[in-house]
């Protein structure tokens, strides 16, 4: 550690308006009443968050800073009517980052109308869809683009425009998606930490399809459960969410290249008592290089450790990608291990600590995510990511100096 971590001074200038705003939304929220049997209901909920990232090493590139401060706001509007058969949802998202202009961005996470008719559910608009069972990566999850500037864990997603029809019967859940517009991945700008070198130029995008972002993608998924088994099989045809990165004409930046793919996937979880056994696998066909990849492992939970209310979960997963080191992913031959702590008390304190080790280079990516509820409205979050012993061949090498600790103060309403 070359630089000392400085003390955290959450600027009171930002905190005080946040507190005042909290009082306002409390009053607003108390006025709303929700009941699922009323013929119509609506509510505004959401959160605001003040995040401070402290980087443990000096920046590798001159425009970067040693710390960053940002603010996020995500209100959510829900309205049900017609005896809950119809729903309208609107969830805008805003991030303002003091350092990185590319990270300062807005998105519409949800904006849809949905109609429930017993076995059929139809949805038109923007939404997020999650598929999969694994913890170390979400391999089969493909409908939404990753909002990478939000977090390198890739769990934040950009809202995806879609027409979606679900059909439920005794044979499982059948889901069809028509995706008329493609969302490009977000990347940090030159002032941002956790970026590549050369920089990825998010404005210089190359598509394989002549329709570019207007290429219409399709996806189908069947999922069901049989006793202890939960199974999902899916196929996606369209623009890859994961770009290939190619050196631009000037040689000073990378351009995202989005190729056309056909990806078939399976995800399985077997739940045996306190053991969850998981497997996700994909086969990806494209005009560059067909490949397969999988992630498999388990999660075992010790409930009520030593007579207390504390649960400890132990996770182990292996990640494989046939493309090896040329894979766009960090996880091509990597072992993930983790431990999940939850105290089950009123503060809902949760810690997930883990590491990913590359089986070839021994590069280590260590990760801690923790959160604790302070009271009915406030939640404190902590995130730490360390890149240790990173091999030059590993994609993580570009961010080897970007070890950081992030403190989040979130207010829910």
């Amino acid at each position: 550690m070359r630089h000392q971590v400085r003390s955290i001074d959450l600027p009171s200038l930002i905190l005080i308006p946040l507190l005042a705003y909290g009082q306002f939304v409390d009053a607003a929220a108390d006025a709303s009443v929700s009941s699922f049997t009323d013929s119509a209901s609506s509510e505004w909920t959401g959160y605001a968050s003040l995040d401070s990232q402290l980087f443990l090493h000096s920046p590798a590139y001159s425009a970067q800073d040693e710390r960053s401060l940002s603010f996020a706001f995500q209100p959510e509007y829900y309205r049900n009517w017609d005896d809950r058969a119809q729903t309208f949802a609107f969830t805008p998202f805003l991030r303002i980052d003091a350092n990185d202009d590319e990270r300062t961005h807005a998105d519409i996470r949800e904006l849809f109308w949905r109609m429930d008719a017993e076995q059929f559910v139809f949805k038109a608009g923007i939404d997020t869809v999650f598929w999969g069972v694994a913890e170390s990566q979400h391999l089969v999850d493909i409908i939404n683009q990753t909002d990478l500037v939000e977090n390198i864990d890739r769990e934040d997603k950009l809202g995806q425009p879609m027409l979606n029809l679900d059909y439920l019967n005794d044979w499982g859940t059948w889901q069809a998606y028509l995706l008329p517009y493609f969302r490009e991945r977000t990347f940090p700008g030159k002032d941002g930490r956790l970026r590549s070198e050369p920089l990825i130029d998010a404005d210089d995008v190359i598509y394989e399809s002549g329709s570019e972002e207007h290429h219409v993608d399709f996806a189908l998924r069947w999922s069901h459960y049989f006793g202890d088994w939960d199974i999902g099989i899916a196929h996606f045809s369209g623009t890859s969410r994961e770009p290939l990165l190619i050196l631009g004409d000037s040689g000073s930046s990378l351009s995202p290249l989005y190729v056309q793919i056909d990806q078939t996937s399976i995800d399985v979880q077997v739940t045996k008592g306190a053991w969850l056994w998981k497997l996700e696998a994909i086969y990806n066909q494209n005009n560059v290089d067909d490949y397969y990849a999988y992630v498999g492992g388990f999660e075992f939970t010790q409930f009520g450790v030593a007579g207390s209310a504390v649960d400890l979960g132990w996770l182990l997963e292996y990640n494989y990608d046939e493309r090896g080191d040329s894979a766009a992913t960090v996880l091509q031959d990597d072992i993930f291990f983790g431990v999940r702590f939850s105290d089950n008390d009123i503060h809902n304190t949760r810690i997930l600590a883990g590491g990913t080790v590359d089986a070839n280079s021994n590069s280590i990516f260590a990760n801690v995510e923790a959160s604790r509820r302070l009271n009915e409205h406030w939640v404190l979050g902590l995130e730490m990511r360390l890149f240790t012993n990173v091999d030059e061949e590993d994609p993580l090498h570009q961010i080897r100096d970007d070890d950081y600790v992030e403190i989040q103060l979130m207010r829910y309403f």
């Binding site: 049997t37 959160y47 739940t271 306190a274 009520g304 409205h377 309403f413």
Partner: protein, 276 residues
């Protein structure tokens, strides 16, 4: 061991009977198991009658507030809703949705209770829009940091316990049956529970929970019963008092509705994201 202790008073009473009978009618060694058998039969009969009286409701929804009383001064409030679907020939299906605290808003748990074997459970995490199958092995863990364990709030199927009728005893002036029940599942946090059901309507009025060491852990009292559809009784309050740590939790139920038209498709993994 705890079962033995619990039946000790019953044993002594039986002993008196046996001695008395022995004096007047000679050897009566078979009396003791016969008495136990009838207590077991009677206990089960009471449980079955209570279950029978509550069957046929089809579906219900209810909103409830959870008040966590920590030190007698501090009180913390949680709000949630539950939907229940009666299933013919198996345990009920239910969905629990959290409204407050707001950081859990929209989080939902789907449970398929089974009469025999472990339940199936899925958790919906709204931030990721992720549905995750979770282990139902965590029976004895605290629910939301309260004095209620998950197993206290799950569907109370007859098959989940074995029963022994203990005695008649009034609860708040109402003549009641006192029935001991022992959880079938070895993962239960309890060695036994002593239940009080009133004789007029077979409503559960009080439960004493004994921990794994056989010590009295908690007492739940149920009050404010209201009858719906001229048949189904539901409490307005469930008060759980922990005798070992002094903490308490109160559940206040509001807005019970019956036969709202819920179907199987409302109790599906993919329905979890739409329940809010």
């Amino acid at each position: 061991m705890n079962v033995k202790r619990s039946s000790q008073s019953g044993f002594y009473r039986s002993l008196f009977v046996v001695i008395g009978v022995a004096i007047f009618s000679g050897p009566a060694v078979s009396q003791e198991p016969a008495a136990n058998k009838s207590a077991v039969e009677r206990g089960l009969a009471i449980a079955l009658e209570a279950d029978q009286r509550d069957s046929g409701f089809e579906d219900t929804t209810v909103s409830f507030t959870m008040l966590l009383n920590l030190s007698g001064v501090e009180e913390i409030r949680r709000e949630m809703r539950q939907l229940t679907l009666e299933v013919e020939g198996d345990g009920d299906k239910s969905v629990m949705v959290f409204d407050k605290p707001r950081d859990l808003n929209g989080t939902a748990i789907l449970t398929f209770t089974h009469k025999v074997g472990s339940d199936d459970q899925w958790l919906y995490l709204p931030a990721l829009k992720r549905v995750k199958r979770i282990s139902s092995a965590d029976k004895s863990g605290p629910f939301m940091g309260s004095e209620f364990a998950y197993e206290d709030l799950s569907s109370q199927e007859v098959e989940k316990y074995t029963y022994t009728y203990l005695r008649d005893e009034p609860v708040e002036g109402e003549p009641s049956f006192v029935v001991e029940r022992v959880p079938v599942d070895p993962k239960s946090g309890y060695t036994r529970q002593v239940t009080w059901l009133d004789q007029s309507e077979y409503r559960l009025r009080r439960v004493d929970y004994y921990d794994r060491k056989g010590e009295l852990l908690k007492t739940m009292t149920l009050t404010g019963y209201t009858q719906y559809l001229d048949q189904y009784w539901r409490p307005a309050k469930m008060i759980m008092k922990n005798h070992q740590n002094g903490k308490g939790t109160t559940l206040i139920f509001e807005d019970y509705r019956f036969r709202t038209g819920l179907t199987d498709s409302d109790f599906n993994r993919s329905a979890l994201s739409r329940i809010r």
